[in-house]
Symmetry: C2
Subunit: 338 residues, 2 copies
DNA sequence: TTGTATGCGTTATCAA
DNA sequence: TTGATAACGCATACAA
């Protein structure tokens, strides 16, 4: 069976032939470059528009080594955290004439490598890599493959002239949460930290511990539990915590999804939230205000992170040496769960 | 400032030079094409691998007119409905060596046109267009720009050899919901239909009406309200409905987000759900089981729709003439809200 | 201001 | 089984 033949786009050569001029004159005209008479330019532009000319960006990419394509690699675009970042990225990319490849890794290093490799073959101008699970050697290797890289939710030692890192100050966030609990007189605070290999989970756990110690309280490993970064993960972790039969009057969770799961387990086991157990989440996704009681959480503007990331990537691509490391401060939003 | 120089990838010519053979021999070897001796092939493959050769897919695209890139256009990737579809699309694309451009339209026809235009310039192999708001002439024009198109949530009359449509049977879904209410003895059923220009919203409204009429009930425009496809939209619509001071004992909502918003407005105004007012949503996004009471809704496997869409697109690209029109039947999942 | 030659990395085509 | 050459559509460098 014959494949459908899409309507063929005219090329520069087609326009040139129709206009009776050389291909280069048309090229200059459509690119608004100097070196073509004003009258000629207008004529060519009119003709090009009439013939429906659109530059072939992949051919242009081959010639200029600039493809106007960037990659966005996330663990899971279905997670609101990344979905909102992606939205921000795509917004400014679109405004600047770039297109964005979206790839999921499912938090798997092997898939992450495969994703980056496929992007490399596409000769993209840069990549935004979120919550990378790569080990340092692999990460450095991958970074060397791209002209520009923005790392979200991942730090990297050493200085790479082609990378910018954007991180949320998770440590601070966790501290804010713990201090809030402390201010309420709660001292038996559990921490539902995220996936063991997640950097931001580690930082949050660290902040949780440091805030506890700063208040003169001792740590108890029994009060900590890892979890998958979703509602079920939060449920499982909270259930495990509750089963240990310790006294717990507060839970700080790695993200809002997990916080909601934990909250429901508490409620289902007959505990009042926030009366008996207060709960604080992280990220402030829309669910936080949808759920009842509304979730007290650490707000960060995810769309803004996406926009920032894309802007930084563009500066890198244009060789502008932006700030190498950006730290976003979360803000505690007190709602009803704590 | 000088831009960072990414590590240069070796080209076919580089490998050829190193191997002391012609470029074409290397090309045949790496592409597993016949016409190269087995021993030679192994040597070349080893060398290519050692030198870290990766084909430049954009150059290949220029030569073959196949870029291995497809586009996915959605109103809002932040909406779980589209996020899950996107996940499915990206999954099979990745498995088949394709990369996916993600673009948001914000439900705006102008932006949708701009998005498709930018994809056209990239010379992609096909596009999956979700919930298109384009009018027929524009849509047909855009369809002619691509070798393959899959329309999700949009019908099109006439037959185009390069398009496949995938739709949820929204009419049936709405009927199932209304019949469920009727079976509970509820007869004062409101409909929170979605955006006025949304095709699926229209189909759902139609199904709602037809089920009511089939039951011998009369229609009342006062029982219908449009809404934005999110929680706030549902809140606003439900509030408007309630303000009309009609007796209402059930609400069917365009999607789960709106259903949850409506449910909360009902609860906040002191009405029991499902006691006084029962609620049914559509799509069965994760929120449906997170919210309390859990939402009775019309289930469709969104990831599956995405995978189906990408598979259909691939068949189209390969000229295989798949089924031109796919209809997905939703299934009523009875939970706690109705 | 305009045009010609050349190259980007790859595949298709034809010749050896 | 191999290799040389011409595209693909565009831009850069240089010549007229």
């Amino acid at each position: 069976m014959m494949a459908f033949q899409a309507r063929k786009r005219p090329t520069l050569a087609d326009i040139a032939r129709s206009a009776g001029v050389s291909l280069m004159t048309v090229s200059r005209a459509v690119n608004n470059k100097p070196g073509v008479g004003e009258e000629m330019r207008q004529n060519i532009l009119a003709l090009a528009s009439e013939m429906g000319y659109r530059p072939n960006q992949i051919a242009r990419g081959l010639a200029t080594n600039r493809t106007s394509m960037v990659g966005l690699v996330v663990p899971d675009n279905t997670n609101p955290f990344f979905a909102h970042i992606a939205r921000g990225v795509e917004q400014v990319a679109g405004e600047q004439g770039y297109n964005v490849f979206l790839l999921n890794t499912s938090e798997d290093a092997g898939r992450e490598l495969a994703a980056l490799d496929s992007l490399w073959q596409k000769d993209i101008d840069g990549v935004i890599l979120c919550s990378s699970r790569l080990d340092l050697p692999d990460l450095e290797e991958q970074i060397s493959h791209f002209p520009a890289v923005v790392l979200v939710n991942r730090e990297i030692s050493g200085s790479f002239s082609n990378v910018v890192t954007i991180n949320v100050d998770d440590r601070l966030g966790a501290q804010l949460a713990v201090r809030h609990f402390l201010g309420q007189g709660r001292q038996h605070i559990a921490c539902i930290s995220g996936p063991a290999h997640s950097l931001s989970a580690q930082r949050r756990l660290e902040g949780y511990r440091s805030a506890l110690q700063a208040a003169g309280l001792s740590l108890d490993a029994q009060l900590e539990a890892c979890c998958a970064p979703d509602t079920d993960g939060g449920r499982a972790a909270a259930a495990a915590l509750l089963q240990r039969r310790l006294y717990i009057d507060a839970m700080y969770a790695f993200n809002d999804l997990a916080a909601v799961g934990a909250m429901q387990v508490c409620q289902e086991s007959g505990r009042q939230v926030p009366g008996e157990i207060a709960i604080i989440g992280s990220d402030d996704i829309p669910l936080a205000t949808i759920i009842r009681p509304q979730l007290t959480t650490l707000h960060v503007d995810l769309g803004q992170i996406g926009r920032l990331a894309m802007h930084a990537l563009l500066e890198l691509i244009q060789g502008e040496a932006p700030q190498a490391s950006i730290l976003i401060e979360p803000e505690l939003i007190v709602r009803a769960s704590a």
